[in-house]
Symmetry: C2
DNA sequence: CCCCTTTCGTAAACAGCTTGGACTAATTAA
DNA sequence: TTAATTAGTCCAAGCTGTTTACGAAAGGGG
């Protein structure tokens, strides 16, 4: 029930907005002349010069080498986002790892660090302390490259109160009502933001993966649970309370196993990572990721033609296809993107999935959206988190003077 | 893949936006003084005076009787939306009726006309001609009240190409690729807009029903088919191609009857109006609406305790509850609103519906959204259509000079 | 090699919009 | 009748993008 865009516009508002417009074009077209920016934005050359001067003063962009675009005429100077200016810090808490990464304003990944850890049994406090340490390392590493971290976004696997920074319920982590915002360490000194792992993974896909090519898309992000991030017009669709896209508890098999949510036959119980491993006869223990992890071993068995593995994954694919048919009917995306564990398993998951999906809402629409595979796999959420911070800066550069 | 709000802001943009801000507050607080508008909007009194003068010049608002708000001091003059100024025309084509209505800028319904007609078997051309005649009547009636119709919005039951004004597929009407935009008659002379009946019914609920109270809501609009309109932040969520909210083809009973869409056990085949009537042993012929129609007779039987009727509606309720569990998981609304045929049947549909819904995504979230009943019933879509035109004018009064 | 054309960037004057403060108008309380 | 209070307007000022003009830096043609 957020108030819609109904605010009065004053001169200052105009400036802020236009600064953002120019900065966004600079970030997207990297070394770009003022003249070209004028074409791109529709502003006059004068206005572009003024706005760029302000962005330069704020340390966000910098004049670089001359750029010669046409045949004749004076070359322009290339304006670029400062690689040594502001940066975004992305953090992620997941069931079997912690991760941090730093992304500069040009959306280049400048630092990345993943630590395997079994967070399932640990005290939330200990996990957050470890995360804080990771964040400190990242900020230090960024500083070593001349980057000033402007803020942080933290990806968490579960339902949360984003404003308050509280993890309401993360069943796979065993957390209930854990305040993250009040965590010790450096995180407190930075403006921080909290979001669902699924949402941030979708944003990661948007900014660091197939992004624009996918249009409005639904990114299925299966790790332990199964979530989905819904991207519409370059923004995450969150619903009224931020819980939109909870794919994992759609009913896949009405007569299926009982789920921890109280329902029966939830998608997660059929197509979740643990369910697949169990059905394939593999132990569902950590470490799950990596080529030597559980999923890696599942892939090995699939490649070897193991019947149990093939059956498990095929069943998961069909269940996922059914759930995605509902998603397509309700959300109507341009594309469906398979991420998380489904990315390495795509070769086996996709055929049954597409078969079921095509049979669902078939004739009522002009076909079914294409199902693509994410190339980011498990790193998507941290990237999305860091990218979100960058996005905030680009969307409102006026905050940095 | 619409471009997001990334446009440069000039002085003219600022004006347009601010005119809209003031006009919206005038429409919402009806007779309101300039001083109060200044408080509400945050503008200075000077700016409000200037903006109101422009709106007055455009014929959108008018100075009225003095308003005395405080105890002491000079009374202000009440600014109101002109009831004799611009108005919006809403039109609706449905399976068993045509409808038109006119709404003024204050969102008062000034004219309303519904014509029963079996449009299922008729030529699209004949239906559109009848609609045109209805539109002409409505415009004339509006003119008689001093209202100038500024535009029209047309509600259509099916999937459509909104930009082109083409009905792609309306199974219950038997239409495929029928161009509505090129229809003869008055519609061509007015700026017209086309939208799904479900979307417009949701907007009708927003502006003429429980609206703001519902927050972000999903409005289930069952007539012959079952659609849903998703309202987020006061706007309809349409998805990438405008097909979002197609509730009718979610799978309700996997082993259920085959649907015209090619699927099996679609919600529409269980909880659709015709399916309920059939299961209750009633003929599914028109006229369906009204106390004497098929639905009216179904209500009579329910009130009489007829077992077949009770069973049919209960089954429909459970199916709808299952589908809504998916909706809640994916869309996360504040409220679910039952409209269309489900409105008169709510007393019998809601209990089983809520039972199933509560058992679905229960523990993962803080409860399930409340299920409310629309008071508008079948008139919602036309009202929403007319309201949409009014909304367009209020959102951009600069279009009217 | 010189000059003309083309393009880039900036400077100064200009125009549109909101703001701020002063001023007039209308009403109530004393 | 007078003082206090609130509403609305007028006019100067400030901020911001636009227009016009001009100097700077290249390449092409003679």
């Amino acid at each position: 029930m957020t108030k819609s865009a109904n605010a009065p516009v004053r001169h200052a508002t105009m400036r802020e907005r236009n600064l953002a417009v120019v900065l966004e074009h600079v970030a997207r077209h990297q070394p770009v002349t003022r003249a070209r920016l004028a074409e791109l934005t529709g502003f006059t050359k004068t206005t572009v010069s003024n706005l760029v001067a302000l962005l330069e003063g704020a340390g966000l962009v910098r004049d670089g080498a001359p750029v010669h675009e046409g045949e004749r005429g004076r070359p322009g100077v290339g304006v670029s986002v400062r690689g040594d200016g502001a940066a975004g810090l992305g953090l992620e808490v997941n069931v079997d790892y912690l991760a941090a990464c730093v992304v500069d304003l040009a959306r280049q990944v400048r630092y990345r660090h993943v630590v395997s850890a079994d967070n399932r049994g640990r005290e939330p406090g200990a996990v957050l302390a470890a995360l804080s340490a990771l964040a400190d390392e990242a900020v230090a590493a960024a500083a070593g490259q001349g980057l000033a971290v402007a803020g942080a976004a933290i990806a968490l696997p579960g339902l949360l109160d984003r404003e308050g920074g509280v993890v309401r319920h993360a069943p796979n982590l065993g957390w209930t009502d854990v305040p993250v915002a009040g965590a010790p360490g450096l995180a407190a000194a930075l403006p921080a933001e909290y979001d669902n792992e699924a949402n941030l993974a979708a944003l990661g896909e948007l900014w660091f993966g197939g992004g624009a090519r996918f249009g409005d898309f639904v990114h299925v992000s299966g790790e332990i649970g199964i979530g989905a991030g819904i991207v519409v017009d370059g923004r995450v669709f969150r619903g009224a309370h931020g819980f939109a896209g909870e794919l994992g508890h759609l009913v896949a098999e009405p007569a299926g196993p009982v789920c921890s949510c109280g329902g029966r036959g939830c998608l997660e119980q059929v197509a979740g990572q643990e369910a697949m491993l169990r059905a394939a006869g593999l132990p569902a223990t950590r470490p799950a990721g990596g080529p030597g992890g559980s999923v890696g071993r599942l892939v090995e068995r699939l490649e070897a033609g193991d019947a149990a593995a093939l059956g498990a994954v095929s069943r998961a694919g069909r269940a996922l296809g059914g759930a995605l048919a509902s998603v397509v009917n309700l959300i109507d995306p341009d594309t469906v993107v398979l991420g998380g564990v489904f990315s390495p398993l795509a070769a086996w998951v996709r055929p049954p999935l597409e078969e079921v999906l095509a049979g669902g809402p078939g004739s009522l629409r002009r076909g079914v959206p294409p199902v693509e595979v994410s190339g980011l796999a498990e790193g998507a959420a941290v990237l999305g988190a860091a990218g979100l911070v960058v996005e905030r800066v680009i969307a409102d550069p006026a905050l940095l003077l």
